[in-house]
Structure formats: C-alpha cells, structure tokens
C-alpha cells in the first residue's frame, strides 16, 4: 500500500516536472519528438534508479556515520557524474542495442537536476532503500510521462498557426502550463 501511494503521488500528484519543477532542461530540450522523448525517459529511469541506490548507500554508510552530511551536495554530484560515465562505458560493452537507444542521452544526465533532486529527496524524506528505489522509479516514470505528453503536444503544435510573437519557446511554455493544469486535477488523490 505504501508503495502504491508513493507511485501515484510521484507520477500524478507531485509530478516531478509539472509540480516540482525538476528536470526542466531536458523537458524542454528533448521534447520535440515522441521517439526521442521516450528514449530520454528510459535513460533517466536507468540513471535515476542507480543513482538513488548508490547515493543512499553512501549517505547511510559513509556520510551519516561520519557526520559529514554537509558534504552531501559535492559527494552526490561527483558520484552521479562518475556513475553516468561508468554506465555509459558498461552499456557500450555489455549491451550495444541499449547503448544505441540511450547512449546519446547519457551525457545530459549529469546536469539533469531531476537526478540529483531525487537523490536528495530520498535521503531528506528518510525512505528505506526499497521505498527509495520505488520512489526513484516512480519519479522517472512521471518524468517520462510528462516528457512524452509534451512531445505529443509539440508535434501537434508544428501543424498549427501560432501567433508570430508566441512562436518558439513561449507557446511551448504555455502548452506545458496547460499540461500542468491538467495534472492539478490529480491533487488530493493520495
């Protein structure tokens, strides 16, 4: 039951992008096509889950016992960037098809604040390792959902006659706003 609440809350109610404003750079950067959007979503899920596990272990077995919580930001970001590198190298060796699908998105992960944000949230909200993993996967799903929905809207927008002043970024932001408004309907569900 606890996991169901975490999942529903992360995907619909507190959507990481539309309600918590994390991961906006890729949200606007790679949402021009549905296919790239879903590729990005997969890569985020992969890295986010591993990052949540690793940072959890580091926090609970190194930082907290040594009372070094203030080094959290610096440790996490270093761990995440080296993790991204490692994942990239390993994927290339182990599973070339998966690397083909996710490879180009991996370098973008280091500066994706959704990854670091979720890693910090897992510790802040004092989840156990298992619920932390569920939390990370659910947030990645929420991210993918928002990304794919916006990509769908942008593909439609291509065909529309948008007022000159609103062309480009402004209309995309307004579209994202409307999407966020739709997601507000889930508020209070959990």
């Amino acid at each position: 039951m606890e996991y169901i609440i975490i999942v529903l809350s992360a995907i619909l109610v507190n959507n990481i992008v539309l309600a918590q404003f994390l991961g906006l750079c890729p949200f606007f950067g790679v949402s021009s096509k549905i296919s790239t959007a879903s590729g990005m979503g997969g890569a985020v899920m992969f890295v986010m889950t591993i990052a949540a596990i690793v940072t959890y272990l580091i926090s609970h077995y190194i930082l907290i016992p040594l009372d070094l919580i203030y080094l959290r930001t610096i440790t996490y970001i270093l761990v995440i960037s080296s993790l991204v590198q490692m994942v990239e190298i390993m994927l290339k060796k182990v599973s070339p098809p998966l690397y083909q699908a996710l490879g180009i998105f991996l370098p973008l992960m280091t500066t994706n604040c959704a990854i670091l944000g979720v890693a910090i949230l897992v510790i802040q909200q004092e989840y156990t390792l298992m619920s932390g993993v569920v939390f990370a996967i659910a947030h990645a799903l929420g991210f993918t959902l928002a990304l794919v929905l916006l990509a769908g809207m942008r593909e439609q927008l291509e065909l529309l006659n948008v007022p000159q002043a609103m062309k480009g970024n402004p209309i995309i932001l307004v579209a994202a706003g409307l999407l966020a408004m739709a997601f507000m309907g889930f508020a209070g569900m959990v």
Partner: protein, 357 residues
C-alpha cells in the same frame, strides 16, 4: 604559466589538490555556521513551543521524548510549572498536504484541550496552502480552547467536522486536521504502549500476603468519612493473613485515583495496584505499576510509622517527576486505606486488626 598537459599524474594531482582545498574550506565553513544553524533551529522550535503551551519553568526540549506511530515518530515536549505538567507540545506530521509533508507543533493541555498550534514546516503553495501558517490567517484560532474529546470534531465541514477550511485550500486544511488528530490520538490514547490495568480480582490477588481463601467472596463494605470502602480479607484456615482495601483519593490531577492497597496483619503495606485513574499520559500515569517503580517505595512501609506523603509535603515518598498532584493523590488514597484498616470502631464487631493473631 602554460596549460598543463593531461598526463595521468597531472590529472590526479590537480583533482586531488582541488578536492582537498574544497573539502577543507567546507569543513571550515561548516564549523563556522554550525552554531548559527543550530541556534536558528532551536530558536524556531522554542518559539513554537512557547506559543502553544501555557507558561512553564522547565526546559521542554531537554525533557523531550518520542513515540512511534504509524508512518513516523512524534516528539513530545512536556511543559512543567512548579512540578506540575501544564501542557505538552507535540511535534506532529501529516503526509496528506498538497505538496507533501506538513509538520506542526500542537500544544495540548493535560486533559487534551488544544491550547495552540504552530506550523513548523510545510511546502504548501504560497498564497494558498501557506495560509495554514499562524501569521497568515486565523485558521488555527478555531482549534484553540477546544477539546476533540468534547464534541469538537477536528475535521473540515466538508468531511462532517467543525473546522472551516481555508477557501480554495481544502487539501491543506484537511491535512492540518489530520496532523492535529495524530498528535491528539497519540497523546490521549498513548498508542505506543498500553498496559491493561488489573481487574479487581487480579489486584486483590497481587496485593495480599499469601492466602488460601477467596477474598472476593468474603468482601464487605465499610463507611468512613462519608465514603464506602470495599474490604477483601485474606486468610489461611482460620487465621487472617492480611486485608486488601479498595480506596479512592480525594482528587487526582484530572479525576480521583482508585487503588487496591494490601496490608499484612501489622498494618505494613504488602502491595498496591492502581485500579483506575485518568492522569496525563507519560506523566501522571507513571503511578501505574507497569510504568514505573513508584509503587515499590510503599511496600514494607507502615503508614502508622512512616509518613506516606511526597517529600514536598514532608513525607518519605519521591513523587513522580512532573506529576506532583497525581503522586499526592496516590499517597492520599494509601493513607485513607490504612485509616480504614486501623479504625476499629467503624464497623461493629468485624474489626481489623483484631482478627489477627
């Protein structure tokens, strides 16, 4: 200086130097800001405690205790004045906020009346949900002075309660009520540890010196100073070994305390059990045998020789800390039981301790 080449040594050396300097300076800044951060945190907590409970003269933060409840932990800060619990500030939480967790400080009087509420932490929407904060609306006022035990339903009106939700902020208001009730329920019902008080039968059995009869079937009543006392005599064969007296104090902190006090034939206390009380959780209720060793101070004492009063009143008993009134009531009930036991002229013919050899 020319750009250094990317040899292995250079790379490791450069990164090593940078991380060393970085962590050293962070450690320095951390030491520097440690105190202000701690001070800011305690200041906020203290001011919240101050505003939700009546005046006190102890340090509630130092005397805090916690209680595990479903979904987390509540922290209790007891406010004590002149040795008496005057209220408890409870740090409580809810996960039902519009944007996640809300942490409140709820102040309850010993009988469960809500005295004050402050918001400690929340992530509710500014301009909307943040109106639950004390400074931003009068939302909290409708709770104050009300007791959920007395017909005040801590639910919003939409859910059939007595709380007016903040306009357009139903979810935050609902979550707020949830957090308040979590504190109240934990405080009143002491969810974490519930000890059953003994029944009359169990109490008689535990407080009497060894006996072979059935004291409950030989019970009778004595009137003393306008109050009825149940007496349960214990005997072996025809020899009486002791007697259990069911005794009630004048008044406790909230209501009178009812005890079962056992005496042997010399009038020495052989055992005491609490039958009934409504004292404050974690304070007055420490008079229960299961919760503290308070009762052990009485065993082996003879109220005819020993002053069965708390030390504040010139006696020999250490009162339960923070529950002077409850301890005093307990001593009173013990003395009343002893007087009943000793008064020969109260009940024609059947007097104690004349039965004893």
């Amino acid at each position: 200086m020319a750009k250094r080449e990317s040899t292995f040594f250079n790379m490791v050396f450069a990164l090593l130097v940078i991380t060393l300097i970085a962590s050293a300076s962070l450690g320095f800044i951390y030491e520097l800001t440690k105190e202000p951060i701690e001070a800011a945190r305690t200041a906020r907590k203290n001011s919240a405690i101050n505003s939700v409970v009546p005046d006190f003269d102890n340090n509630p933060v130092e005397e805090q205790y916690t209680m595990e409840v479903a979904g987390g932990e509540l922290v209790f800060y007891p406010a004590i004045r002149d040795g008496e619990l005057v209220g408890t500030a409870i740090e409580t939480f809810t996960n039902r906020g519009f944007s996640g967790e809300i942490i409140l400080m709820v102040g309850l009087l010993p009988d469960g009346t809500i005295h004050g509420i402050e918001v400690l932490e929340h992530r509710e929407t500014p301009g909307l949900g943040d109106k639950i904060e004390t400074g931003k609306s009068g939302f909290h006022l409708q709770f104050e002075g009300n007791n959920p035990a007395e017909d005040f339903q801590v639910r919003i009106r939409q859910d059939g309660g007595d709380v007016d939700a903040i306009t357009a902020t139903t979810i935050s208001s609902r979550a707020y009520c949830d957090a308040v009730m979590r504190a109240w329920n934990a405080y009143m019902h002491d969810d974490a540890v519930t000890y059953e008080l003994p029944s009359r039968e169990e109490a008689v059995e535990r407080v009497l010196p060894p006996f072979g009869n059935n004291p409950l079937r030989e019970d009778y009543r004595i009137q003393y100073l306008g109050r009825a006392y149940n007496i349960f005599p214990g005997r072996r064969g025809r020899t009486y070994t002791g007697v259990a007296v069911e005794s009630t104090s004048d008044s406790g902190y909230i209501a009178p305390v009812r005890l079962m006090v056992g005496f042997d034939y010399t009038g020495t206390i052989s055992g005491i059990e609490v039958l009934e009380h409504s004292e404050s959780p974690n304070y007055g209720d420490l008079i229960e045998n299961a919760r503290s060793n308070f009762y052990k101070q009485f065993i082996g004492k003879n109220p005819g020789e020993d002053q069965i009063r708390i030390k504040e009143d010139g006696g020999i008993i250490d009162g339960v800390s923070g529950a002077t009134t409850s301890s005093r009531a307990y001593c009173h009930a013990v003395r009343a039981a002893w007087e009943v036991f000793m008064k020969k002229d109260l009940n024609q013919g059947k007097l104690y301790p004349e039965y004893f050899p």
